[in-house]
């Protein structure tokens, strides 16, 4: 067996393993997607069939024409974008300050940020409802985005801090030698280096808001209700519209998949962090 054949076989094995991993990890989504093309009865058949015997778009038509669905999709986008923007605007300078100034209060702050993640969400539900009402922002996308930011911000700070740690202080010093202020150094030099980190943080912040259920349940009613609540409404005390639920869930997954694909090159590029050339 020559080297070429060995490499060919290795490649086949590698592709087979990749395919197996893809099927294993992707099966829940693939099954969801296949179910969304089944007839309503077949969608909940016992025992379940993987492939539809009769392909139909009926579930998509009924789900997307259901009252409140288009508005909920728009609300989800608006809320997630605002929440992501807020998370980045707050997390980037916070993480930069913590990693560059290395003060005791900074260390306390970053640990405290993590501790807030340990508080059960439902425990802050009642006070949050009260605060939002006093601010007059219940049932608004901005109010919900603020609430979602409380979830994503600690993780965003930790993520950004880890990326900033990987960037040597000499880079900031070099920028300052070239005439930059601290903020200019951050904006013009450091952030371009950690673009991938920002992308990763943005994705996590976006996903935290996109899929969040409990705050959306507690803080929205009609105007700002997001899609996870509408998806949950497909199951009621009186029945389960499994076909419609999977159709809307499939539609709801598309923006996240596109976002991840779009930002993928930034993520990979950011992981190398090869900006300093000796």
């Amino acid at each position: 067996m020559n080297g070429l054949e060995t490499r060919g076989k290795s490649r086949i094995v590698l592709w087979a393993l990749l395919a197996a991993a893809l099927i294993l990890y992707g099966f829940p989504f693939i099954y969801l997607l296949l179910t969304s093309f089944k007839t309503p009865l077949e969608a909940i058949s016992v025992p379940p069939e993987v492939f539809p015997t009769q392909w139909t778009l009926e579930n998509y038509v009924s789900a997307l024409s259901r009252e409140g669905v288009p508005a909920a999709l728009v609300n989800s986008v608006v809320t997630a974008v605002i929440s992501t923007a807020l998370s980045l605007v707050l997390a980037v300078p916070a993480a930069y300050a913590i990693t560059r100034f290395r003060t005791p209060s900074g260390r306390v702050f970053i640990v405290a940020a993590l501790v807030t993640r340990m508080v059960p969400t439902i425990a802050v539900g009642a006070p949050l409802v009260e605060i939002m009402r006093n601010l007059g922002i219940t049932d608004t996308s901005f109010g919900l985005a603020l609430a979602h930011t409380t979830i994503s911000l600690p993780l965003s700070i930790w993520l950004m801090a880890s990326f900033f740690e990987a960037v040597p202080d000499e880079l900031d010093e070099a920028a300052k030698v070239d005439g930059c202020s601290r903020l200019q150094a951050l904006w013009r030099v450091v952030i371009p280096v950690v673009t991938g980190g920002v992308a990763v943080t943005a994705i996590f912040a976006f996903l935290a808001s996109w899929n969040e259920f409990l705050f959306a349940l507690l803080l929205t009613s009609v105007r700002a209700q997001t899609t996870p609540i509408v998806i949950a409404n497909f199951q009621s005390q009186f029945g389960l519209d499994w076909g419609g639920m999977t159709a809307l869930a499939a539609v709801y997954s598309i923006p996240v998949i596109l976002l991840t694909l779009f930002l993928q090159r930034h993520i990979v590029a950011g992981l190398t962090l090869g900006a300093v050339k000796g």
């Binding site: 309503p40 605002i82 009402r133 070099a174 371009p192 105007r223 700002a224 609540i229 009186f238």
Partner: protein
């Protein structure tokens, strides 16, 4: 040292654009508008906000429309998933200033929320009580006050396949085997006979593909109906005295009957819930099922049994017919800003309860509303619901704030063990008794 800049990173113009877009989005958001637009519903004098479970919204829509037409007041129906409705209402009531004016509550939540609900005693005149099923009136009263007005109710009834029951060969074979005519069963013994008769291999491949009935292990209500059929007056516990009754002879008799149907039911009973049961029937795998009455009108068009479903009252045990009323109530929060207007809407909803009959679920709460439609095509389930809901052994579930916890942590796990082969039903009930006593103490 030389800095290497990334050519792919957005340039100055792009960054300015991103910053501008972010600012714009934030500015729009700061206006506080979601896509629905408009102001705060609770602050609007001409609007009432009613929070309702997803499946029940359709029941209230015709009433809300008429209310708007007659009074000029808009009733905004806020649809929330059942799984989160309890948390939402609990959070809002505890906050002291709820965003809703009326809530549609599941019967089992009334006692848990009673402290935050306004009394509706004025609405409960003798005429009103006479037009409601006894179990619903009992259930609505918590701590000597009526805290909810029924808006629709449900009960399990018997569903059976008329194509099988009217088949001449089946009729003859059944009578020859059991000595009485094949018909929709009315009691436990008949139900077991019919279930046994129809459990068979219909295509000759050696595998059973038609079952007489199902046995649901993942939900508790059907067994609770059986407990009442057995003659128990206090299912699971006597909420007033605090005595836990789940280990009584009637509970055991009911559990023994319930599990005696396992040979005539598909495997996997411990995981079978309402949705699974319903689908087995719609697929044509079951000859009979005991199920909530609304399913009659909700049969999918592509079901193989669509045009061959018969309905009858819930079967009777030694003490007679017994079901569990599955009622929803309209309640008004004590801390609500528009209590009087909210009570007026609750009264209006009661007076126009019949409007809910023509909705997708077709559920109402008043006897008169059921009776008015009983002879109409498409409402064949109403006489069966009336007979079941009027039966003396159709009793409400215990009025205790811990009920949901008892169901989730004791009753369902106990049933799931009971439907496994070789289960000791008496021991399981004794164990459940200890667990429930620990919960309520």
């Amino acid at each position: 040292m030389k800095l290497r800049t990334r050519t792919r990173f957005p340039g100055r113009r792009a960054r300015v654009g991103i910053a501008a877009a972010t600012t714009l989005i934030t500015a729009i958001a700061l206006t506080g508008c979601g896509v629905g637009g408009g102001g705060d519903a609770s602050a609007d004098a001409d609007t009432l906000t009613v929070v309702v479970e997803g499946g029940g919204k359709a029941e209230l829509e015709p009433i809300a429309d008429l209310y708007k037409e007659e009074t000029g007041t808009t009733v905004k129906l806020v649809e929330l998933p059942y799984a989160g409705l309890y948390d939402r209402i609990s959070t809002e009531l505890s906050s002291g200033s709820p965003t809703f004016d009326v809530a549609a509550l599941d019967a089992i939540w009334l006692s848990a929320f009673a402290d935050g609900l306004a009394p509706l005693d004025d609405l409960y005149t003798d005429d009103v009580k006479d037009d409601l099923f006894g179990g619903l009136v009992t259930e609505a009263k918590v701590n000597d006050s009526f805290v909810g007005m029924p808006v629709w109710t449900n009960s399990e009834i018997l569903f059976y396949r008329t194509d099988l029951f009217e088949d001449p060969t089946n009729k003859a074979d059944f009578e020859a085997k059991f000595g009485y005519p094949l018909a929709a069963p009315t009691d436990w013994e008949q139900y077991r006979d019919v279930a046994e008769f129809f459990t068979r291999d219909t295509d000759g491949d050696g595998q059973t593909d038609l079952y007489g009935t199902d046995v649901k292990g993942a939900v508790e209500t059907e067994w609770l109906a059986t407990v009442s059929q057995a003659g128990e007056e206090h299912m699971v516990l006597d909420a007033e005295s605090g005595d836990v009754t789940i280990a009584s002879a009637e509970h055991l008799e009911a559990l023994d009957f319930y599990t005696s149907l396992l040979p005539y039911a598909p495997s996997g009973a411990s995981q079978l819930d309402w949705a699974g049961s319903q689908n087995l029937f719609y697929q044509g795998n079951l000859a009979m099922m005991r199920f909530w009455g609304h399913a009659y009108r909700a049969t999918p068009d592509d079901s193989v049994v669509k045009d061959s479903i018969g309905v009858a009252p819930m079967i009777a045990g030694p003490a007679g017919i017994g079901g569990v009323p599955g009622a929803w109530y309209l309640s008004v929060p004590t801390a609500g800003a528009k209590q009087e207007a909210a009570k007026e809407f609750v009264q209006f909803a009661y007076e126009h309860n019949d409007l809910s009959a023509d909705t997708s679920l077709g559920l109402v709460a008043r006897k008169s509303a059921f009776e008015a439609k009983s002879g109409e095509a498409g409402f064949e389930n109403y006489p069966a619901l009336l007979d079941t809901l009027n039966a003396p052994q159709t009793l409400p579930r215990p009025a205790t704030p811990e009920w949901q916890e008892i169901v989730d942590s004791v009753l369902v796990p106990m049933l799931q063990k009971a439907v496994e082969p070789g289960a000791d039903n008496a021991a399981l009930l004794e164990e459940a008794k200890s667990q429930i006593e620990a919960i309520i103490q």
